[in-house]
């Protein structure tokens, strides 16, 4: 199975160049043209922690079938500067076409010169180059002229009419060239894709938050989580969202908790290092039983680590953040619908149980996008009660949940206290009260477990091998499993967890049915496997881990699964 070979009905294009060179423009406009032309689109980018220079790239898959995962394969590579090819060498095969300005493609096997720059100049300015490139790529896949004109126009709408016109003309010229290159990558469009949206991970999280009633965000910028913050800020007027760029993460987290206390539904968006600073506040939420929703976009640590890259290394941190003992819930969506649904759910569950709820994503997830038909339904569930004069904020109940009032809604006083407290919220030094309060808080776990999201099985019901994964690896592994089953006649299924704590107990049944289970994670120690081992006592010896800062590609997943399965079979013999 040579996965690096051109696949029918699909083309993988990669743009590579320095930060600030227009990769993002091409990515943005071209993917929209492709989608509006009726093609499925997936795109993901990797970039250095710098604003200009260095080397970044975007990988775009255009296909007749839904595509939602990153592949190493490059059918067409467009270098945008001198050293654009360097870091991509091991993704270039004998079939990869290197297309672009002569000076950048010169000397490459399969070089295909299209002088974007020259063509652009013929329309009056070198800077129309990007539009030419967009046109050429559109031509190659057989995109529609109408879509091209629409999106070029939209993108430059804030510029003068002349500039818009020049760009459109340059792009049309590119389109013509692309169509006549004879590369045979034209795809058959599908009508329904045209009405789809292109949605990125960060948008799904932000929109999910709004669907869950989010009306407050306090955060401090930190890659890769800033995009969620920005998106909610952008939508703040439309949806009535209070936005605060806090002086630091500590302020952000304390604000979010106090905002819930006062009656808002608040979110913070951060990454590992920023979250580390919030852990005392998480403990506060645990003690005062006030909800908070945290979106944590993971990147490789420790410390500053690789600020713009990806990892699944902060599960343990989130599991144990905050001193003392109190319950929490952690979601880790595997696709855009889940991100939307679970972020909305995070608000409802936080409100219901009065606990911290986490949405754990990562750079790969947030910065990738594909076309979706629609988002699932989500509704806002509010659990705030109207108080009366006898209101006790920490009334001891069987479920551990005390009805939560907010100041000014009803006649009661809402008194919360970070010290151990009695039912009225007043400081206590009593061992008995302490014990009852600890037990009350922990009692919620039982009900939280009943509310936990079961894992999803992808692949055959009667699998021989089972992959267990969580979070952003879902779609890559789903595609890998399909390939392995279809092409190599393996019998593998994927069990994916979008709620990683508390873990749905059905896992044991799934694992019992497997001949062997392989645990898949984007970190160096197998944090989720450890959690499963601890809670369910299951064997988690077979682990496929990755911690170099980059996401799994479909090809790498396939290779590594084959490696393990091959060894297991030999061992079985």
């Amino acid at each position: 199975m040579n996965l690096r070979r051109k696949q029918n009905g699909e083309v993988c294009m990669v743009l590579s160049g320095a930060a600030g060179q227009g990769i993002q423009t091409v990515e943005h406009v071209f993917t929209r043209i492709a989608k509006d032309s009726g093609f499925h689109v997936f795109a993901t980018k990797e970039y250095m922690s710098r604003v200009r220079g260095g080397n970044n790239s975007t990988s775009i898959r255009i296909s007749e079938r839904p595509v939602k995962a990153y592949v190493d394969r490059i059918d067409i590579l467009v270098p945008l500067n001198d050293n654009a090819l360097e870091r991509l060498r091991d993704r270039i095969t004998s079939e990869t076409i290197i297309l672009g300005n002569e000076k950048y493609v010169r000397g490459e096997r399969n070089a295909l010169v299209v002088n974007f720059e020259e063509i652009a100049e013929s329309f009056g300015n070198k800077i129309y180059e990007n539009s030419v490139a967009i046109g050429v790529l559109s031509g190659i896949i057989g995109a529609q002229e109408e879509a091209l004109v629409k999106h070029i126009t939209a993108y430059f709408s804030r510029k003068s009419e002349d500039v818009v016109k020049a760009n459109v003309n340059a792009a049309l010229k590119g389109l013509e060239i692309g169509r006549t290159l004879g590369l045979r990558f034209e795809l058959i469009p599908s009508q329904e894709v045209k009405s789809h949206y292109l949605m990125a991970g960060y948008e799904a999280v932000a929109r999910g938050a709004i669907a869950g009633g989010c009306n407050f965000i306090s955060s401090y910028p930190m890659s890769p989580a800033t995009t969620v913050f920005t998106e909610l800020s952008r939508l703040s007027k439309e949806y009535g969202i209070l936005v605060d760029q806090a002086e630091d993460e500590i302020a952000a987290a304390n604000m979010a908790i106090a905002a819930w206390y006062a009656g808002a539904r608040a979110l913070v968006s951060t990454s590992g290092g920023g979250f580390a600073l919030m852990t005392e506040a998480i403990s506060l939420a645990g003690m005062i039983e006030t909800p908070i929703v945290v979106h944590l976009g993971q990147r490789p640590g420790p410390a500053t680590g690789l600020p713009t890259r990806t990892e699944q290394g902060d599960l343990n941190l989130v599991l144990h953040a905050g001193h003392g003992e109190f319950p929490r819930v952690i979601y880790a969506p595997g696709n855009l619908c889940e991100a939307y649904e679970l972020t909305a759910r995070a608000f409802n569950i936080a409100d219901k149980y009065q606990i911290p709820v986490f949405v754990l994503t990562d750079q790969y997830f947030l910065d990738s996008f594909y076309n979706v038909e629609t988002m699932p339904d989500a509704k806002i569930e509010r659990y705030v009660v109207k108080t009366d004069e006898n209101y006790r904020r920490y009334e001891i109940t069987e479920s551990g949940i005390s009805p939560r009032g907010i100041p000014g809604y009803g006649t009661g006083l809402v008194r919360v206290d970070s010290d151990e407290h009695d039912e009225y919220g007043h400081i206590t030094e009593s061992a008995q009260v302490r014990k009852r309060m600890v037990e009350k808080r922990l009692r919620k776990l039982k009900y939280m477990l009943e509310d936990s999201v079961p894992p999803k099985l992808f692949g055959p019901e009667n699998y021989e091998y089972l992959l267990v994964a969580w979070g952003s690896t879902q779609l890559v592994l789903k595609e890998a499993v399909e390939l392995l089953n279809d092409e190599l006649k393996l019998n593998i299924a994927l069990l994916h967890f979008s709620q990683v704590y508390p873990v749905h107990p059905s896992i044991t049944d799934f694992i019992e049915k497997a001949r062997k289970t392989i645990f898949f994670e984007g970190n160096a120690t197998g944090q989720f496997a450890n959690l499963l081992k601890l809670v369910f006592g299951i064997h988690t010896d077979e682990r496929i881990l990755k911690y170099d800062g980059f996401p799994f590609s479909v090809e790498e997943a396939v290779e590594r699964i084959l490696g393990v399965v091959g060894r297991l079979r030999r061992e079985d013999e």
Partner: protein, 276 residues
């Protein structure tokens, strides 16, 4: 005027030492609230951790007794979510200027309509007598055996430097002045700092009631708190500590009023979507 007793918590076991300046402040606060006729359910007292921060435990009103150092971010958020509430952030000098120093300077910049009452006893009371940011250089404490080796933090000067919209200093032993200043601070539209000099009879044997009486003075009648340079001079004067409204700038926009959800609709975000 209401009866200040309506703010009493029946049976509260007050944890302060006999003679502590905090007793003055709690009476002053309750009197100010009573004179302003603010019903308990309109008032939220937000505090950090420390002796001063126990205040809301003893005042019948809404209470958010959060983390050490974090009274201000909590107060700002509560005001944003429900601007109809009277929000008072109340805590110690250590809590507000030490652990919470970053929030102090940035809350001044934001200028939310909250009142910040700081019990400035120039010491860490609850943790038993270490230097606070406002402890004098050279003072011997339970941790600084050879005297504090750093200069004190000057909250009033910093507030003036940051153009805080209302800056006052009082002394817990001066009942009428303190009541008046707390009332002015609550009525003021915008962030209002009331730094209250407060004797800690147990751990600060330097800054006693007598010391404060001898080392403070009331600002003269002709003093103009809108004159920023004058305010700076008063704030950094090295002889005695000025009491009264030291600075005010009523022209600064109020933070929460500028935020998107309140552009067209004044309903507190807290109540939107609830049956009220």
């Amino acid at each position: 005027m209401f009866d200040p007793k309506i703010y009493d918590i029946p049976g509260a076991d007050i944890a302060w030492c006999p003679g502590c300046g905090n007793f003055g402040i709690i009476n002053e606060l309750k009197t100010a609230l009573a004179q302003l006729e603010l019903p308990p359910h309109r008032v939220v007292i937000v505090s950090g951790i420390g002796q001063a921060a126990k205040m809301p435990q003893y005042v019948r009103a809404h209470m958010f007794n959060g983390l050490h150092g974090r009274s201000l971010p909590a107060a700002v958020a509560i005001k944003m979510v429900n601007p109809e509430l009277v929000v008072i952030a109340e805590s110690g000098d250590g809590c507000t200027y030490g652990e919470g120093g970053n929030h102090f300077i940035h809350t001044i910049r934001k200028n939310p309509d909250i009142t910040n009452v700081v019990h400035d006893n120039q010491i860490y009371g609850l943790t038993k007598g270490q230097a606070s940011p406002t402890t004098a250089r050279g003072q011997v404490t339970t941790l600084q055996f050879d005297g504090v080796p750093v200069d004190p933090f000057n909250p009033v000067a910093v507030a003036v430097a940051l153009d805080a919209s209302f800056v006052a200093r009082s002394f817990s032993g001066n009942f009428n002045l303190t009541v008046e200043l707390i009332k002015m601070a609550i009525k003021h539209k915008g962030y209002a700092l009331v730094d209250i000099l407060q004797p800690c009879v147990t751990f600060n044997k330097v800054n006693t009631y007598q010391w404060y009486r001898e080392n403070t003075y009331l600002l003269p009648d002709n003093y103009d708190p809108r004159d920023r340079e004058w305010a700076f001079k008063v704030a950094t004067g090295t002889s005695k500590l000025a009491l009264g409204v030291i600075y005010m700038n009523p022209n600064r926009p109020v933070y929460e009023e500028q935020l998107a959800p309140y552009m067209t609709d004044k309903t507190p975000v807290a109540f939107r979507g609830l049956e009220v």
